[in-house]
């Protein structure tokens, strides 16, 4: 069922939602956008409709959070999972899609992460499709798209004066009960916008057979070539919506066991107490990052572990472009077996 949301009605609706939810929407922070809870007199930052600088995964897996609180005499207690209802408005499909992949990590059958799960369950996600997809993005290449539905409860299509609202789940339906139904014309118009957006995105690289190439060239000099100018910082992984690695650290002074974002691009990430490091240089670390996304995720959930949001491309301080790296990978020979 498709509904119509008039743009001048949006603020009113968001304010109405604030009665029941903590509403997060993209707002300006310095000179970029960020998902922040709406306060009175908020200003949305939709005009810079690109992805927020930090992916919304940070709302579910904060950069730092406490897992345990230490009590006296060597004791400890669990930090309760947070459950206040939240609504994230204006999330782009690539970011929402990424969250469904992270669910497979954090909500596995054997070990569910209670913090992640509680936040996911308490959150309604309303997406905003990308009618003008970003240049650095490549969602269509990796099996997502500018109007992909995965992980969303409802998705909006910008039709000038109005948004067309597609309801995708019950949670989404509950949000938009008072809106009028879209006409067939409007639905048609939206689907044209969606098609055009998709068509405007070139295929950035060939994904067919890419996994095999990466696997077979595990010991190839290719990795040294592509990682030569890599600085070894964590920009690409910290801004990545599908990266989830974390570190667990005891902060004795604060009396907490915290988990912090961590990244395979850091030297200390895999450094063992004995001094041995399975990934001693940027070569192995780059290999891990790319192989994880384009090979290991495929083995695990049969999906590429990348939704093509383009953040790593845009913010790499040395202009390393994962798309170019993968195009190059696709030209590797297939005969070499991994060591």
């Amino acid at each position: 069922m498709n509904l119509i949301l008039k743009k001048d009605h949006l603020k009113h609706l968001l304010n109405a939602w604030r009665q029941d939810y903590e509403v997060y929407a993209p707002q300006s922070l310095q000179n970029f956008t960020h998902f922040l809870p709406l306060q009175d007199g908020f200003e949305l930052a939709f005009d810079k409709a690109h992805n927020t600088r930090i992916p919304p995964k940070a709302l579910f897996l904060p950069t730092s959070e406490a897992l345990l609180k230490f009590t006296r005499f060597g004791g400890y207690e669990e930090v309760p999972s947070e459950t206040a209802p939240r609504l994230i408005f204006g999330i782009h499909p690539c970011d929402a899609h990424a969250m469904t992949m992270l669910d497979t990590v954090f909500e596995q059958e054997r070990y569910t992460d209670p913090l992640w799960k509680a936040r996911r369950e308490a959150t309604v996600v309303v997406g905003l499709g990308c009618d003008e997809p970003c240049k650095t993005g490549f969602c269509t290449t990796v099996g997502s798209g500018p109007f992909n539905h995965a992980g969303l409860d409802a998705i909006l299509t910008d039709l000038g004066e109005i948004f067309l609202v597609e309801i995708l789940t019950d949670k989404g339906e509950y949000l938009f009960t008072q809106l009028e139904t879209a006409s067939e014309d409007q639905s048609m118009q939206a689907s044209e916008v969606q098609q055009a957006a998709k068509a405007s995105m070139p295929i950035a690289f060939e994904t067919e057979g890419l996994k095999q190439k990466l696997d077979q060239n595990f010991a190839s000099p290719y990795w040294e070539e592509v990682s030569r100018s890599c600085l070894g910082c964590g920009v690409c992984t910290f801004l990545c919506p599908t990266c989830f690695c974390f570190d667990i650290v005891d902060e004795a002074q604060r009396g907490e066991r915290v988990r912090n974002w961590d990244t395979c691009m850091f030297r200390t990430y895999s450094l063992e107490a004995s001094g041995h490091n399975p990934r001693p240089s940027r070569v192995e670390r780059t290999r891990q990052r790319l192989s994880h996304k384009y090979s290991y995720w495929l083995d695990q959930i049969n999906q590429i572990g990348c939704t093509g949001c383009g953040r790593c491309v845009r913010y790499c301080p040395v202009g390393l472009d994962i798309r170019a790296m993968l195009r190059k990978a696709h030209q590797l020979p297939s005969e070499v077996l991994h060591a």
């Binding site: 400890y76 054997r110 913090l115 005891d250 066991r257 961590d262 107490a273 192995e284």
Partner: protein, 285 residues
């Protein structure tokens, strides 16, 4: 151990029952931990299988992954042997009987004991990595388990005799007639009655038969690297050679990302892998 409702990051409250040095140079210390809550003990032993590991928490210092070195039948305690290397193991070494400690586990899959039933077992260990193999041997010694398996051969090498762990037990094993024990040290020492040489060479010397056999190898990377081909040379098919791996770990449950070996996580999908499985994975160790 599935976490019904309980945070997988929340350690089980334990206390140190016994703590003693295992090696003469005090680099290895064994801790025996008892459960504060008997219910935790029941749940632990219901899920426990030799070859699994636990994350020991020293509050304020952090967690360290250690293989379990005791068998379930030994009693309501869990044994670990820690080598003093980093900040957490240093803190572990400082613990005294009665001190509180946290434990998460059992984690990982352990040895596929069901699969091995009816087969001869060749257990090959080196250094402090022998702890899980010790648990395995102990498990097999229980009268209700021993009959399920055939011939039992243990090969255990250490750098020096002083670094040999579980000395009393191993001395007693030499007297048993249901197993064969070969001990080795790297360099000759006075009064040493057993093998001298590196583990792979001892394996070649002992020549365990591959017929209806399974070999389990745990040791430092360099030992494993040379022992696996030695076993292949003796005729062990890769499917019958098992090893237990380790890498830096934080969560122990396949979420923090760092212990992966290709698409597999050592914590969640291992730590026990067969050589056949390893051959299909990238060499990212």
């Amino acid at each position: 151990m599935p976490n019904e409702g309980r945070s997988p990051y929340l350690p089980i409250p334990m206390h140190v029952l016994h703590a003693y040095y295992e090696s003469t140079d005090n680099s290895l210390k064994t801790l025996e931990l008892s459960f504060d809550d008997p219910q935790d003990a029941r749940e632990f032993f219901a899920a426990f299988n030799p070859g699994q590991f636990c994350l020991l928490s020293v509050i304020g210092k952090g967690e360290s992954a250690l293989g379990v070195a005791s068998a379930a039948w030994e009693g309501d305690f869990v044994r670990f042997t820690a080598q003093k290397l980093g900040s957490v193991t240093t803190a572990l070494h400082a613990l005294k009987p009665g001190d509180p400690i946290g434990m998460r586990g059992p984690l990982g899959n352990g040895f596929p004991l069901e699969e091995w039933k009816g087969k001869n077992l060749v257990i090959i260990g080196g250094g402090c990595a022998f702890s899980t193999l010790y648990a395995l041997t102990k498990h097999l010694h229980h009268p209700s388990n021993r009959g399920d398996y055939g011939k039992l051969t243990v090969i255990y090498g250490t750098r020096t005799s002083g670094l040999c762990m579980y000395k009393q037990d191993i001395a007693a094993w030499h007297q048993r007639d249901d197993m064969e024990v070969h001990q080795a040290i790297d360099v000759p020492e006075q009064d040493w009655l057993h093998h001298v040489g590196y583990v792979p060479d001892v394996v070649k010397e002992v020549r365990p038969s591959p017929v209806n056999s399974v070999a389990v190898v745990c040791g430092p990377p360099i030992m494993t690297k040379f022992t696996l081909p030695a076993l292949v040379e003796l005729g062990f098919p890769p499917e019958t050679i098992f090893t237990s791996l380790e890498k830096r770990m934080k969560c122990g449950i396949g979420k923090c990302g760092r212990c992966n070996l290709g698409p597999k996580y050592i914590c969640k999908d291992g730590p026990v892998f067969s050589l056949a499985e390893l051959n299909a994975l990238p060499a990212d160790l």
